[in-house]
Amino acid sequence: MPIQVLMPALSPTMEKGNLSKWLKKEGESIKSGDVIAEIETDKATMEVEATDEGTLGQILIPEGTADVAVNTPIATILADGENASDLAKASAPAKPEKAAESAAPAAEAKSTPAPKDASAPAAPKAAAEPDPEVPAGTEMVTMTIREALRDAMAEEMRRDPDVFIMGEEVAEYQGAYKVTQGLLQEFGARRVIDTPITEHGFAGVGVGAAMAGLKPIVEFMTFNFAMQAMDQIINSAAKTLYMSGGQMGCSIVFRGPNGAAARVAAQHSQDYSAWYSQIPGLKVIAPFSAADYKGLLKAAIRDPNPVIFLENEMLYGHSGEVPKLDDYVIPIGKARVVRSGGHVTIVSWSNGMTYALKAADELAKEGIEAEVIDLRTLRPMDTDTIVASVKKTGRAVTVEEGWQQNGVGAEVAARILEHAFDYLDAPVARVSGKDVPMPYAANLEKLALPSAAEVVEAAKAVCYR
């Protein structure tokens, strides 16, 4: 019976891809290991190898087709002795053969996952409230968060010759998550620098260069690997200005994906929001929307202090509207009310906003109007915006993917207690990642992360509903 070739998943987070090219024609014979097609994600173009031998019977998905879901049959292979008349059998719901395997070098250098594909659903429409930083009537451009980050860096590198980027696979590979795509071509190897796999060392080299007056962007392939560099980030970058009595500072951005991706388990899934935001001397930014990613990364690069810029891999492929302004810079340290409501305040940031906004939609159906605040910057934290909202609603829920103990949610709750205790009608509730290392199994991973349902439940609880 003919064998079906299925659309392969090229990374843990890929759901769809474009079938860009067939390299074999119908009727051509195929040996195991032959490259039969090219598949493109927004991250990379990868070759598909045949895992079976025979003749390419029928191409089911023509080249140039976009958004082909993983596991869709894309072709059939006829075994020896079979012919076109056997093809009909294959169209019956064949038991899915294993998907073709990627022949291209694994995208997951250092076993990090590749990003979600560009065709991923757009981020929920967050901006119910107009963005105060954007003049009315500004033209908006839709772009992915990955592109917003790249544009922010490219613009700042054009503006300031002292800005450069260094990290693992940022140059020739075009970014492990394709965030630095095209930068090498525009700025050259002097300013777009591939480092050896040596986080502690290159973080220190970056800090030294910053002490000498340059403005490095240091990309960590993920912040999980930055634990190796923690001493240079904290002891050298964050403390030098103070220890030198203001003489010697460090204008540097450490950026990269933070927190859970998908199915990469405990060592690749940690959220460091709480760790970094405890340190005086650091600024910590963790945006959610594409516009904020761009405007805040530009602000981070210009900031004369060390800035930790926490991205989220699950959001890279999400699209959003970004103002078409020559120089769109968002001030660091300002939260944003992205949805107004009078019944309960939900405070979150980064991917936590996904749950918060979904929950707000659900709550609205039940007559609870949630006010959703995107912190955007974790240090300095915009206490005023939180407190003003809680004074209005009298109830608050925090949402984070990180752990609860000593978490950012705990800090938000403490500030609410300090500044708005008399306005509270219920104790502040915290929704967070569960107090376990991230498990691998899909169902357990889902359980370990917060969910919109948990946010809904918490919001109802503080509303005594």
């Binding site: 290159f202 240079q232 103070y242």
Partner: protein
């Protein structure tokens, strides 16, 4: 000119360098300048030890006595614009780069006139003006940082050289080798100066290092290195000249292992159980870097009186620094909140 005294006890004294350089002869001006600079460090450190004993200096205090020829000789090989970075045994480096002894001593006593307004202390001091980048309290952290200073020089296309000093103990840290790799890969103009004073705190080199020839630590990265008699300021200067020329020519990093000895404890609270008093006395007697210069000057017909005048002048500077450091007020309480961000 008298030959420097030979080490007769290689087991207990820093051995003579096996590098190919022969100590250049110094001019009288160079000898005098080296003597004065080394004396300044020694008298400063003696005073710091004294003030520590009086409780005027707190925390950790790591004295440089015995190692003076290294920073003084290396500084003679530099030009304005070259950068220096080191670890926590940093007073000598600061004085060698020309930082004001008053500001350094006042930082030791935690006063507002200190280089860091009293917020850094002995291990964390900087001078942008003198291109001194610290003063770092985490062992070996200065090695990637110094490599980064060199990176900035290369990025800017200038010919400045960065000097990253660290000890035999720091030489066993992983980030040193991460730095070596990048420095050679990118041909960064950095001189790694390993001050081998034979003890990482209380652990001797032979008890802590599989390869005790630190000049060889760059071999797997193709970084040239040599051992230098770090007790002879002329040998240090000669090796420094060679390494600086190598770096300025764009050939990448260079390693200098300075064989030296610290007379005092690791810090002021060192119990000194790990080595004998005789061992220390022997080095002091046979190889002292300051005595070597003094003896050469005396042999060259300089009078004892002239040398004493230099010492007196240095003592005056140090006494003034100590006086300032004890009378300068503590920082304003408001200083607590400044310089966290800029």
């Amino acid at each position: 000119m008298a030959a420097p005294k030979k080490s007769v006890a290689p087991e207990t004294s820093p051995s003579k360098g096996n590098g190919s350089q022969s100590p250049l002869e110094f001019t009288r001006d160079q000898e005098l300048s080296a003597l004065r600079d080394m004396l300044l460090i020694r008298r400063f450190e003696e005073k710091a030890g004294q003030l520590y004993g009086m409780g005027a200096i707190g925390g950790f205090c790591h004295l440089y006595i015995g190692q003076e020829a290294i920073v003084v000789g290396m500084q003679m090989a530099l030009k304005t614009g070259d950068q220096v970075i080191t670890g926590y045994r940093d007073h000598g480096h600061m004085l060698a780069t020309g930082m004001d002894p008053r500001g350094v001593m006042a930082e030791l006593t935690g006063r507002r006139g200190g280089y860091s307004h009293g917020k850094g202390g002995s291990m964390h001091m900087f001078s942008k003006e003198k291109n001194f980048f610290g003063g770092h309290g985490i062992v070996a952290a200065q090695v990637p940082l110094g490599t980064g200073l060199a990176f900035a020089n290369r990025y800017r296309g200038n010919d400045f050289v960065s000097l990253a000093y660290f000890g035999d103990g720091a030489a066993n840290q992983g980030q040193v080798y991460e730095s070596f790799n990048m420095a050679e890969l990118w041909k960064l103009p950095v001189i790694y100066i390993i001050e081998n004073n034979r003890y990482a705190m209380g652990t001797s080199v032979t008890r802590s290092s599989a390869q005790t020839d630190f000049s060889k630590r760059g071999i797997s990265f193709n970084i040239p290195g040599e051992q230098v008699d770090g007790m002879d300021v002329r040998a240090v200067k000669a090796a420094g000249d060679k390494a600086v020329a190598w770096c300025r020519a764009g050939k990448g990093p260079y390693i200098l292992e300075m064989q030296t000895y610290r007379y005092r404890g690791h810090s002021m609270s060192d119990p000194a159980k790990y080595r004998t008093r005789e061992e220390v006395e022997k080095v002091r007697h046979d190889q002292d870097p300051i005595e070597q210069v003094r003896n050469r000057l005396l042999a060259a017909k300089m009078s004892e009186q002239d040398l004493k005048a230099i010492d007196a002048e240095v003592r005056e500077i140090v006494n003034a620094a100590a006086d300032f450091a004890q009378h300068d007020p503590e920082p304003e309480p408001s200083e607590l909140w400044t310089d966290v961000y800029r």
